[in-house]
């Protein structure tokens, strides 16, 4: 892989992006002093092309394209180990959330389609049913991700054990959930929320 040289200047360091991340995550990016303790304990670090501390570093340099271009942020499982152990109380797990949100908004800047897809379906389910129905989630996920046979062996067993319900009902107050979704959409349209 060829790595592009990083040209650093006030123009190439996107401070506004960093501020946005900080506002969403409620934590400081500059505070990180690159000790690497987050990466040392991250259960997902081996799957990421940029370990967590490097994501912090790239952010400090305002290089968000490099962060979002990769899959790393989609491999974070939100275990909060990094946040718990950071000697500088950097809430890195929340920074990961913020980055995923910004990537999600920019629609597909990042390549981790499976996790994105799962998240999308999950949220759709909430919007439609008010609650999560795992059977539906799994089935639709497999169809949409083209892995029809994934976990095929598990399905019938789970149904037999009563773990996957074939039918489900909607919440009585389901209209309220739709309202929450739409209000948030409107706030964002008006620029009242990130």
């Amino acid at each position: 892989m060829i790595k592009k040289k990083m040209i650093i200047s006030q123009e190439t360091m996107d401070v506004d992006f960093v501020r946005k991340v900080e506002a969403l995550a409620g934590t400081s990016v500059r505070r990180c002093f690159q000790c690497g303790k987050c990466s040392a304990g991250c259960p997902m670090a081996t799957f990421m092309e940029h370990p967590p501390n490097r994501i912090m570093r790239l952010l400090q340099l305002g290089q968000w394209q490099r962060v979002l271009a990769g899959r790393s942020i989609w491999y974070c499982v939100s275990c909060e180990t990094c946040t718990t152990r950071c000697p500088n109380t950097v809430d890195l797990a929340s920074i990961m959330d913020a980055l995923r949100k910004l990537s999600w908004d920019s629609d597909g800047a990042s390549k981790e389609s499976y996790v994105q897809l799962a998240n999308k379906l999950f949220l759709q389910n909430i919007r439609t049913y008010g609650r999560q129905y795992e059977m539906r989630l799994a089935a639709v996920f497999n169809v949409k991700s083209g892995q029809f046979l994934k976990d095929l062996m598990l399905g019938p067993k789970l149904i037999a054990k009563g773990k996957l319900k074939m039918f489900h009902s909607k919440n009585k107050n389901i209209s309220e959930i739709e309202k929450i979704f739409t209000r948030i959409e409107e706030m964002r349209k008006k620029g009242d929320a990130l």
């Binding site: 506002a23 409620g26 259960p43 997902m44 799957f47 491999y75 499982v77 939100s78 275990c79 909060e80 180990t81 946040t83 718990t84 809430d91 797990a93 929340s94 959330d97 913020a98 995923r100 949100k101 499976y114 996790v115 897809l117 799962a118 998240n119 999950f122 949220l123 389910n125 909430i126 008010g130 609650r131 999560q132 795992e134 059977m135 989630l137 799994a138 996920f141 994934k150 062996m153 598990l154 067993k157 789970l158 054990k161 009563g162 773990k163 996957l164 319900k165 919440n171 009585k172 107050n173 959930i177 309202k179 929450i180 979704f181 209000r183 948030i184 706030m187 009242d192 929320a193 990130l194």
Partner: protein
């Protein structure tokens, strides 16, 4: 006897589906212990990981909505799922410290945010509200000789100052609870390591690798079984165990119990009331061997 204990109960989505045995055993156990549970009427999904992963505002709003609904039922909020627990606690924390986010969430749910209710995981209710002594007093079939590996996973205790259930790095609450009902606990290395959680759907390969390390560690420590307080952990450790054994060409045979199931056994509840038949790794041989069923 102390004052009567009554809670608003938030089972969470999993307990109405893949973790129905957790729901069942919780209701049965609390009934025996004389702890009142009233389900939060028309609760919604808390948003779990996917919501905060990509849309914190939505996650906060869903949690705030549920806190509002729970407020209508008397008592502190009893939460069974570690993930829901973590989300609700985090929402309370964030909404408490950030005025900006609180204002946004109030707009989204069109109601004032209620932050004063006490959100408690079942473990907390058993260990602190009921108390270990009263718990021990309810036991009629001590789990003597059963070696339990208590698995905290990530979300029960992390990050340090948010859930406030126990020390984030050296928690003991699970061990204390299960020792109170007569079991032995093992010291093992992976009780706080991540199992891969909700990646079970999108990246099962990752989950298989991480969960294997957890199972391996529990087995190496000489555990007979694993105890959890989270349907996600349970899903990975129990449902995927056979598959993992296949991938790594090994055999663990470690039944994975919800805390309420194990404690349920100790207070004399039968297999049918605890949903033991729903477990993928059959616990019956172990329980029979130890003379517990």
């Amino acid at each position: 006897m102390g004052k009567p204990l009554n809670y608003s109960y938030y089972p969470g989505c999993s307990l109405h589906a893949s973790a129905s045995e957790y729901d069942l055993s919780t209701r049965e156990l609390f009934n025996v212990l004389g702890i009142g549970l009233t389900e939060v009427p028309d609760w919604f999904c808390c948003g779990a990981t996917p919501a905060h992963n990509v849309d914190e505002l939505l996650s906060l709003a869903l949690c705030a909505k549920n806190l509002e609904l729970a407020d209508k039922v008397e008592g502190d909020m009893a939460v069974a799922c570690a993930s829901c627990f973590s989300r609700l606690k985090t929402a309370q924390h964030v909404l408490g410290v950030s005025d900006v986010k609180r204002t946004q969430v109030e707009k989204a749910i069109d109601a004032p945010v209620k932050l004063d209710s006490n959100v408690k995981h079942l473990l907390e209710i058993l260990a602190k509200d009921l108390g270990l002594e009263r718990l021990a007093a309810a036991v009629n079939k001590p789990l003597s000789g059963l070696k339990v590996a208590c698995y905290y996973g990530c979300l029960l205790t992390r990050p340090s100052d948010v859930p406030n259930l126990d020390c984030a790095e050296a928690p003991t609450i699970m061990e204390k609870v299960i020792e109170a009902v007569g079991a032995e606990t093992v010291a093992w290395t992976h009780r706080l390591e991540c199992c891969g959680a909700n990646f079970t759907l999108s990246r099962p390969g990752v989950v298989i690798q991480l969960t294997n390390a957890v199972l391996e560690s529990a087995k190496a420590a000489g555990a007979d079984c694993i105890m959890v307080g989270c349907p996600l952990c349970h899903g990975n450790l129990d449902i995927r165990q056979k598959e993992i054994e296949g991938v790594y060409n090994t055999s663990y045979g470690l039944p994975v119990f919800y805390l309420t199931q194990l404690i349920g056994i100790s207070v004399g509840l039968g297999a049918d009331k605890l949903g033991l038949d729903a477990m993928m790794v059959n616990p019956m041989p172990l329980l029979k061997e130890k003379g517990l069923l």
